[in-house]
């Protein structure tokens, strides 16, 4: 009898768009039990922009993140961990307001049942004070951790207001990559795209090409990022880059119009364009199954 895995179930149930990346075959029904030991899934949420005000873009600005948290808590199987890929708060020049927003968003995120939550800043959180307030509330802006055979690297391309990673962090990245085996499973979390997705809208990292050159030194590297408030998939060399939807307002497709004006709220389809994703990490072959989920279940 063929058994179905969690992702196959989601697909069959029509619960979300599924993208299979990094491998040729679908499903793992026949996989051996020892292979399953290295397989897990995590949830990526991005760009909640707590503090944003714009009824034309999101009349539920103070309630959308909570709905997403509830949706994550309602998942049948809890993820191993949850990652927020930046812009937890909407920018403000007032340091007190910035910290108030960070305090509030941290409390809301604290409602997640899964307590292993990873953070990184977006430019709205960190570019005006070089990540100082973010560090006070959420810790380091770039770091690594390992989980079930996958090496995770969090890169900070926002604390520098010129959208650069910077020489020191690039040297740190190169040293970390040097320590990984040639076939290590590596996942990078960052906020901005590392490649030039659409520089006309500031959808790029000033020295992202240098980071990609370093990452290309290993065989199995995949990047998950935020910033552009929409699902997007791109490949540079053998590295896949996957942008997640946001949790406050949607942005137009790159280059689809002259300026990067946010997408207007559609009362007929509330929360359209917003959402989060599950990422199922599989070891043999190395691949990541991405399932996009809405803020409010259909």
């Amino acid at each position: 009898m063929k058994t179905i895995d969690r992702r196959e179930f989601l697909t069959l149930a029509g619960l979300g768009g599924v993208v299979l990346v990094g491998g040729a075959c679908f499903g793992r029904a026949a996989a051996a039990a020892d292979a399953d030991a290295d397989e897990f899934y995590f949830v990526q949420l991005s760009d909640p922009h707590w503090g944003f005000e714009g009824p034309a873009q999101n009349p539920d600005a103070t309630g959308t993140l909570q709905k997403a948290i509830a949706a994550v808590n309602a998942l049948k199987e809890p993820p191993d961990f949850i990652v927020f890929t930046g812009d937890l708060t909407h920018t403000t020049e007032d340091g007190k307001v910035r910290r108030k927003r960070m305090d509030e968003v941290r409390a809301i995120i604290g409602e997640l049942k899964v307590k292993d939550v990873r953070f990184m800043p977006g430019e709205h959180d960190a570019s005006l004070d070089h990540g100082k307030a973010f560090g006070e509330f959420f810790g380091r802006t770039h770091y690594t951790f390992d989980h079930k055979g996958v090496h995770f690297i969090t890169l900070d391309n926002v604390s520098d207001p010129t959208a650069a990673i910077g020489g020191d962090q690039l040297a740190w990245l190169a040293a970390d990559i040097e320590r990984q085996s040639a076939d290590a499973r590596i996942v990078v979390f960052t906020h901005r795209p590392l490649f030039d997705l659409y520089p006309q809208w500031d959808w790029a990292t000033a020295d992202g090409a240098k980071a990609i050159e370093i990452l290309q030194r290993r065989e199995n590297v995949t990047v998950f990022y935020g910033h552009i408030h929409q699902e997007h998939h791109h490949v540079t060399g053998h590295i896949e880059h996957h942008a997640a939807r946001g949790l406050m307002f949607a942005l137009p497709a790159p280059g689809s119009q002259l300026k990067r004006t946010p997408v207007a709220w559609d009362p007929a389809q509330p929360y359209k364009g917003l959402g989060f994703r599950e990422v199922e990490a599989e070891a043999r072959p190395v691949k990541y199954g991405i399932t996009e989920l809405p803020v409010v279940p259909a």
């Binding site: 920018t91 403000t92 020049e93 430019e123 570019s127 005006l128 207001p161 010129t162 959208a163 520089p199 006309q200 809208w201 500031d202 000033a206 002259l258 300026k259 990067r260």
Partner: protein, 119 residues
């Protein structure tokens, strides 16, 4: 000095004078002052002619800003109190966006403008 060498030097001199006259006779490139301030540019709509290079003279009234026009590979950081000059060669017609690429405050993401290149 031989007649041949005098003729050679004379030709060089004539060429040099011609070149200098040629440089002097070229029209100076148009300079367009652009002032950046929170959170806009003045002017925020720049009109230039196709294949007529211009010099953008960039200043900032308040905080460090950026000027980035990726379609023409032109960018500069603008420091208050200093003038940044960049040469823009409008090699294609149309309307193109430029923007601030140094995160400068609340309205940073709306800080942009257009370059219209006309035939």
């Amino acid at each position: 000095m031989s007649a041949q060498r005098r003729a050679f030097l004379g030709a060089i001199a004539a060429t040099a004078i011609g070149a200098a006259l040629s440089v002097r006779s070229q029209p100076a490139e148009r300079v367009i002052p652009v002032r950046a301030y929170k959170f806009s540019y003045d002017p925020d709509a720049i009109v230039v002619k196709l294949n007529e290079p211009v010099i953008l003279e960039l200043t900032s009234s308040d905080v460090p800003m950026g000027f980035n026009a990726p379609d023409f590979a032109v960018r500069a950081t603008i420091i208050p109190g200093q003038t940044s000059r960049v040469r823009l060669v409008p090699n294609k017609t149309g309307t193109f966006v430029f923007h601030c690429d140094v995160f400068c405050g609340d309205g940073h993401e709306d800080m942009d403008g257009t370059i219209e290149v006309v035939p």
